[in-house]
C-alpha cells in the first residue's frame, strides 16, 4: 500500500484541528465545559506527579514485590484507554465528517485517513499528554534514574500511538458494521438504547470492573505487556531485554499495519453502499388507522393533529427525547440502594412523582415554538390557534406521562414504608402534577424558545429545548413540588416542629404544591398561547 502524502496529511490535520477549535471557541457552553475540564486536568496532573514519585521511590527501594506484573497492567490500560476513546469518537462522529465528499474527490482516501488520524493523535496528546509526561518524569525522579524516566516516556508514547491507531481502526470497523448491516440499520435506535441502558446499569450497580477486568487481563498477557519490559528496562526488576527490544522494533511495524487497516476500513466505509434504515410506513401501521382513533377521539381536529404528529416524531426519532432521561442519573443512587437493600426508601416515591411530572412536561412542551422547526412558518399560517396547538402538545405528553407517573410512584409508594395516607397523597401528586408541569413547561419553553439544532450525540443533531427553559422549568417545578416532597418525606419532624399532626403536614404540603403548581401553570400556559398566536419570524 502506498504511503499517504505527508503534506496532505499535515494540511488535513491542521484544518481539522482549526475547525474543531473554532467550533469549540464559538460555543459558550463548550467553553465553560472546557474551563471545568481544565480544573480536573490540573488535578489529574497533580495526582500523576504524586503517584509517579511514589511509584519511583517504591521501585528503587524494592518495596514492590512484582513491579513488572503491575507495569504490564499499566501497559494494558495505556493501550485500552486511547483505543476506547478514539474508537468511540471515530465510530460516533469522525467517520462521516464535514466536507467529506470534497476531500475525497481531491486527495486519495489514505491521505484523508492519515490526516484525520494525525488530528486525533494530536487531540489525544494535548488532552492527556501533560499528566502522562509529568507522571513519567516523576517516576524517574522518584527512582533517581533519568534513564528510567526516558524509557517510561518512550514506552508510554509508543503504546499511546498504537492505542490511538488501533482505536481509529476499530472505530471504522464499527462504522462499517453500522453502515452495512441491514439489521443494525433497522434496529439502530433500539440497539443504541440497549447499549445505553446496559452501560448505565453497569455504572449504576458498580459492576463496570467485571467487564473491564477480563479485557485488561487479556491485553496484559499479550505482547502489549512487553512495553512494561521496555519501560522498566533500566530498573532492577528483571525486565527481559529481548521483549523490550521487540516492543521498540514492533511499534512502527504494528503502527503501520494498523494504519493500513484503518485506511482500508475507512475506504470501505466512505466508498461503500450503505444499508438503509426504515424509511417507509405501511398505512396499516400508521396511527391514523389504529391508536389515535381511540386515544385522540373527541379532540378538535387541529389538536388531535398536533398530538398525533408529536407522537409520530417522538417514536421515529426517540433520541431527540434523550434529555428526558437525564434526571434519572440523580435517582441512580436511590434506585441502587432500593435494589441492593430490597426495600424502597421513603424518599423515592415522592421523587418518582416529581420525575414523572417533570418528564411529562419536558417531553413535548418544553420547546413548543422551536420544535416545529422549519414547519413553523406554515403552522402559524394555518388557522390553528395557540390554544389548540398547545392543547395538542399537552395531550401528547399527558396521555403517556400521567398513567406512567401514577403507576411508578404508586407501586414505589406501596412497596415503601410510607403509610397508606402518605402513599395516597403521593399518588394524588403523581396524578395532578403532570398537567401542571406540562403547562409550566410550555410557558418556560415559549419564554426561551430554541430554533437552532444542537448535537445530541456526536453524530446526531436535533432541536432540543434551550438550557434556560430547561433550568427555569426544573427550578420552578422543583420549588412547587417542595411542600409535597417535604410533607411526605419529613412529615414527622415537620409536624413536631410546628405542632400539627404529621398527616396534616403531608396533605397540606401536597395541597400547597398543587395550588402553587396550578397558579404558575395558568400563567405559563397563557403566556405560551399568546406567544404562539402572536408569533413572528
Amino acid at each position: 500500500m502506498a504511503l499517504p502524502d505527508p503534506r496532505h496529511v499535515r494540511d488535513i490535520a491542521e484544518t481539522e484541528l482549526r475547525r474543531r477549535w473554532r467550533s469549540t471557541r464559538d460555543n459558550r457552553v463548550q467553553v465553560a465545559a472546557l474551563a471545568l475540564v481544565s480544573v480536573f486536568y490540573l488535578l489529574a496532573a497533580g495526582i500523576g506527579v504524586v503517584g509517579g514519585l511514589a511509584a519511583g521511590r517504591a521501585l528503587s527501594a524494592g518495596d514492590v514485590e512484582t513491579p513488572l506484573r503491575y507495569a504490564r497492567y499499566g501497559a494494558a490500560a495505556a493501550l485500552v484507554f486511547p483505543a476506547f476513546i478514539i474508537g468511540f469518537r471515530t465510530a460516533a462522529r469522525l467517520g462521516s465528517f464535514d466536507a467529506l465528499d470534497g476531500l475525497l474527490t481531491t486527495v486519495p482516501h489514505r491521505d484523508l485517513a492519515g490526516g484525520l488520524l494525525a488530528a486525533e493523535g494530536i487531540w489525544f496528546a494535548v488532552s492527556f499528554g501533560l499528566p502522562a509526561i509529568l507522571a513519567a518524569l516523576a517516576v524517574g525522579f522518584g527512582a533517581g534514574s533519568p534513564a528510567l524516566a526516558a524509557t517510561v516516556l518512550l514506552a508510554l508514547g509508543a503504546i499511546a500511538l498504537l492505542g490511538v491507531t488501533a482505536g481509529f481502526a476499530l472505530g471504522f470497523a464499527a462504522r462499517n458494521v453500522m453502515a452495512r448491516s441491514e439489521f443494525v440499520a433497522r434496529h439502530r435506535t433500539a440497539l443504541g438504547a440497549l447499549l445505553f441502558v446496559g452501560y448505565m446499569a453497569l455504572v449504576g450497580s458498580g459492576n463496570i470492573n467485571t467487564v473491564l477486568q477480563p479485557v485488561l487481563e487479556a491485553v496484559r498477557a499479550s505482547p502489549v505487556g512487553w512495553f512494561a519490559d521496555l519501560a522498566l528496562f533500566p530498573a532492577d526488576v528483571a525486565a527481559v531485554p529481548a521483549l523490550a527490544a521487540a516492543a521498540l522494533v514492533g511499534t512502527p511495524i504494528l503502527g503501520a499495519a494498523l494504519f493500513g487497516a484503518s485506511a482500508w476500513l475507512a475506504g470501505r466505509y466512505w466508498y461503500g453502499d450503505h444499508a438503509r434504515g426504515p424509511t417507509g410506513e405501511t398505512r396499516s401501521r400508521r396511527f391514523v388507522g389504529g391508536l389515535d382513533i381511540h386515544v385522540f377521539d373527541g379532540l378538535p381536529r387541529p389538536t388531535a393533529a398536533v398530538a398525533r404528529k408529536s407522537w409520530l416524531r417522538a417514536i421515529r426519532a426517540p433520541i431527540k427525547l434523550v434529555y428526558v432521561a437525564y434526571p434519572l442519573f440523580f435517582l441512580v443512587g436511590y434506585l441502587s440502594q432500593a435494589f441492593e437493600a430490597g426495600e424502597v426508601p421513603v424518599g423515592l416515591p415522592p421523587l418518582l412523582a416529581l420525575y414523572g411530572a417533570w418528564a411529562t412536561g419536558a417531553a413535548f412542551t418544553l420547546n413548543p415554538l422551536g420544535d416545529e422547526g422549519a414547519v413553523m412558518p406554515v403552522t402559524v399560517t394555518t388557522p390553528v390557534t395557540g390554544r389548540q396547538f398547545l392543547s395538542g402538545l399537552l395531550v401528547a405528553g399527558l396521555v403517556v406521562g400521567t398513567p406512567l407517573s401514577v403507576l411508578v410512584a404508586g407501586v414505589a409508594a406501596a412497596l415503601s414504608d410510607l403509610g397508606a395516607a402518605a402513599a395516597a397523597v403521593t399518588v394524588a401528586v403523581a396524578l395532578f402534577l403532570p398537567p401542571l408541569a406540562a403547562g409550566l413547561a410550555a410557558g418556560a419553553g415559549s419564554l426561551f424558545p430554541k430554533f437552532e439544532t444542537s448535537n445530541i450525540t456526536r453524530s446526531r443533531e436535533a432541536i432540543v429545548p434551550s438550557l434556560y427553559a430547561f433550568a427555569l422549568y426544573s427550578l420552578v417545578l422543583g420549588l412547587a413540588w417542595l411542600p409535597a416532597g417535604l410533607g411526605t418525606m419529613a412529615a414527622d419532624p415537620l409536624g413536631d416542629a410546628i405542632g400539627v399532626d404529621p398527616l396534616a403536614v403531608t396533605v397540606g404540603g401536597a395541597a400547597l404544591t398543587l395550588l402553587a403548581g396550578a397558579a404558575v401553570a395558568l400563567v405559563a400556559t397563557r403566556h405560551a398561547v399568546g406567544r404562539f398566536d402572536g408569533f413572528r419570524l
Partner: protein, 248 residues
C-alpha cells in the same frame, strides 16, 4: 374589503438602519399570476413574509384576499405558502405530513384523504406517499411542499422558488399547477430566479431592487419597453433594469 387579491400601500420594512422593503405599492387582481423578480437580497422574501403575516411591516399597509395583514386569523384562512426551504417534518411520511397540515386546517378526514391522493398522484408522489420525508430527494421535498401549500385550495398562493431543485418533468407539473390555479381563480404570487418560468406564466411582473419596485408590467410590455429597441427577453429586461438602478 379590497377587490384586489393582494394590495399594498407604502409597505415598508426596516431592520434598524437597513431598509429591506420601501414604499411597496402592489395591486394584484384575483385569478392572476404575479411574477416577483429581483436579485438576491432585494427584499422578495421579506415582502412575502409580510404578506403572509410572518413578519410585521414597519409602516404601510396591505390586504391579502381582502383582509388586512394585521389580522392574521382572517388572512391565513385564504393563503397557502411555500417558503424557499420546504417546511416538512423529516420524521413523518409524506402522507402524514399532509394529514398534519390538513388537521391544522380542520379539513375533514375523508376530504383531506381524497385531496392528498389526488395531489400526490398529480405530482407523481403517490408511490412515495408512505415513505418518510427524510428519504425524499430534494425535488420530492419541493413537490411535497407545494402540495402542502395548495392542499386546502387557498385563494392566494405564495410560492418562493417553487421550481428550485426540480427535474424538467416535475418543473412542468409545477408550471401546469400554477396555470390551473389561476384558471380556478386563485392568485399566485410567484418569486423565482428562473425567468422563463415567469415569462411563461405571469400575467404581470414586478422587479424589486434594493427594496423598491423598479419596474412593473405585463411580460410582453416589459420586453418591448427594453431599451435594446428590439423585442428582448425578460432576462434582458431584468438585467437592464437592475443595472440602471444600480448605476443610479
Amino acid at each position: 374589503m379590497s377587490s384586489q387579491a393582494i394590495e399594498t400601500a407604502a409597505l415598508t420594512k426596516r431592520y434598524g438602519d437597513t431598509v429591506a422593503v420601501e414604499n411597496l405599492e402592489l395591486w394584484i387582481p384575483q385569478g392572476s399570476v404575479y411574477g416577483f423578480l429581483g436579485p438576491n437580497g432585494a427584499g422578495k422574501t421579506t415582502t412575502m413574509r409580510m404578506l403572509t403575516t410572518l413578519i410585521e411591516p414597519t409602516s404601510g399597509s396591505a390586504t391579502v384576499a381582502g383582509h388586512s395583514i394585521e389580522n392574521r386569523n382572517e388572512v391565513v384562512e385564504h393563503i397557502g405558502y411555500l417558503p424557499e426551504e420546504p417546511p416538512l417534518h423529516e420524521e413523518l411520511t409524506g402522507r402524514e405530513q399532509m394529514e398534519y397540515i390538513a388537521g391544522l386546517r380542520d379539513i375533514p378526514d375523508d376530504e383531506a384523504a381524497a385531496r392528498i391522493d389526488d395531489l400526490f398522484e398529480r405530482f407523481d408522489l403517490d408511490e412515495d406517499a408512505d415513505k418518510r420525508i427524510s428519504a425524499y430527494s430534494k425535488g420530492m421535498k419541493q413537490k411535497a411542499g407545494i402540495v402542502q401549500a395548495i392542499l386546502h385550495e387557498p385563494s392566494v398562493v405564495f410560492l418562493d422558488e417553487p421550481t428550485s431543485g426540480l427535474d424538467p418533468r416535475a418543473a412542468r407539473t409545477v408550471r401546469d399547477t400554477i396555470s390551473s390555479l389561476a384558471e380556478e381563480d386563485a392568485t399566485v404570487f410567484l418569486s423565482t430566479h428562473i425567468l422563463p418560468v415567469v415569462d411563461e406564466l405571469a400575467d404581470r411582473v414586478g422587479v424589486l431592487y434594493d427594496g423598491s419596485l423598479v419596474t412593473e408590467g405585463a411580460p410582453e410590455d416589459l420586453k418591448t419597453r427594453a431599451e435594446t429597441g428590439e423585442e428582448g427577453t425578460l432576462e434582458d429586461v431584468f438585467l437592464e433594469v437592475t443595472r440602471e438602478v444600480g448605476e443610479v
